[in-house]
Amino acid sequence: MRSTNEEQNKYVYDVRGLNLWYGDNQALKDITMGVEENEITAIIGPSGCGKSTFVKTLNRMIESIPIVRTEGEILYHGHDIFGSHMMVEELRTRVGMVFQKPNPFPKSIFENVVYGPKIHGVKDKKILMEIAEQSLRGAALWDEVKDRMSENAYSLSGGQQQRLCIARTMAVSPEVILMDEPTSALDPVATMRIEELMEDLKKEYTVIIVTHNMQQAARISDKTAFFLSGELIEFDMTHKIFSNPQDKRTEDYITGRFG
């Protein structure tokens, strides 16, 4: 995947004219946008506008739905992710994903965190321990679980489970983390902890986060993309979107006039 134009393209993700259909139903319409390194990009828009579809396309998770058809290009560091030289497994280790509902595996906390490294061939127990500690610290969960690493992950609270899933994603050292409404199943306190975490994540990762929570988007993101019925209506600096949107529809949405 590495090549010379990796450095030439300033975008981590460069999406060009992306169209996507579920059968005959078009869910994404001519999306063009670039995502820069070490930024948090928020994706907002009313239910059904294609936010989940969009982020699931970025790591090709969308392919598990057989009726999906795509058109257009998504360049990841200058390489077409649909290209034949792109291995989907490699893409997914470089682009991690955190889901709407916490989805730990029915294994111990430790086994959850080191699942990725183990699958990809890291066997040394000491290295795995190190990875586990680092990732759990990164997800601000270490202090809460360091004495119960062998307990089942489902003994954790929902908010802890979600941070465990973030740690699990970090354990394979991705460059990008995709998050699809990662706090929508959590209470305000657990949500706040994850939001605090985002500031730190930004230093090491490029984050793309779908959220229904406008305040959350405004608080944590650098850029915001507003989707409506499968179209990208506006994409700009977050403070601009929220203070001075260019499109009437964006303004209507963020002021709560519809959606």
């Binding site: 998770m61 280790t93 699958i119 699990r168 994603t169």
Partner: protein
Amino acid sequence: MGKNSIREIIQNNIRNKNHFSDKVMPKVFFVMASISVITTFGIVYTLIFDSIKFFSQVPIREVFSTNLNPLSRDPSFGFLPLLNGTLLTTIIAMIVAVPVGMAAAIYLSQFASAKLRKVLKPILEVLAGIPTIVYGFFAYSFVTPLLMNLIPSLGAKNALSPGIVMGIMIIPMVASLSEDAMNAVPTIMKDGALGLGSTKLETTLKVIIPASISGIVASIVLGISRAIGETMIVTIASGSSKNFTFDITQSMQTMTAYIVEFTSGDAGSGTVGYYSLYAVGLILFVFTLGMNLIAQYISRKYREEY
């Protein structure tokens, strides 16, 4: 129609409702449920009652011997040859059913397209619906001759062929129940593994199977219990040799086949031979009951919490 009049209609109907069936039907359901429970107790009672007559006449040491000769003038009732026959045919059956059934379940639940699954699953279920006498005939007149080409010393009646065919018969059960267990693993958990860059196969082996292990093991244990209780196939294809042997190319009698042989008229009512049927029946019952309890225990104990 206004809100109030709709409310009036509903309230009237509720007040005038005939509550007879609400009172009677639960009682009918209770009686129906009781019938099956009572029948079970009846069977167990007969088994135990007549087994006691057997065990009072035959010393327990004789029961655990290898000498089974129920029809001679000086009969001997060592059940080890029967236990051995049942055990060996069951092991052979599971050696066939577990790998093939698991592979089929993995393929159907994780790899087959929805279209293909729609075709394959009903076919699998047809396999489960074939009467066992047909399987027995298939073992005797097709599989045994086929195996004779490979193993010239194979007897016309032997343990191997019915064992294999019993395995084939159990495949749909293992496959179908295991597939259900694997399908019950939430998609979001599978997505979690795929999202970390695992291949489909890695996801299946490292996440889906561990998450559904209780259902899978339960399906295998139920398969074993089915093999232990299977009668027709072994009666037809394994014969009635009462020798104690581990040579699966030779005829062996299973517990079930023994019961078939002696209920077809050889043992006079009231003789020890006659009561031996109940003793064997009781042993069979204990075995299959034990297997079912194990299956239940496993699916409870190892139920993954998610």
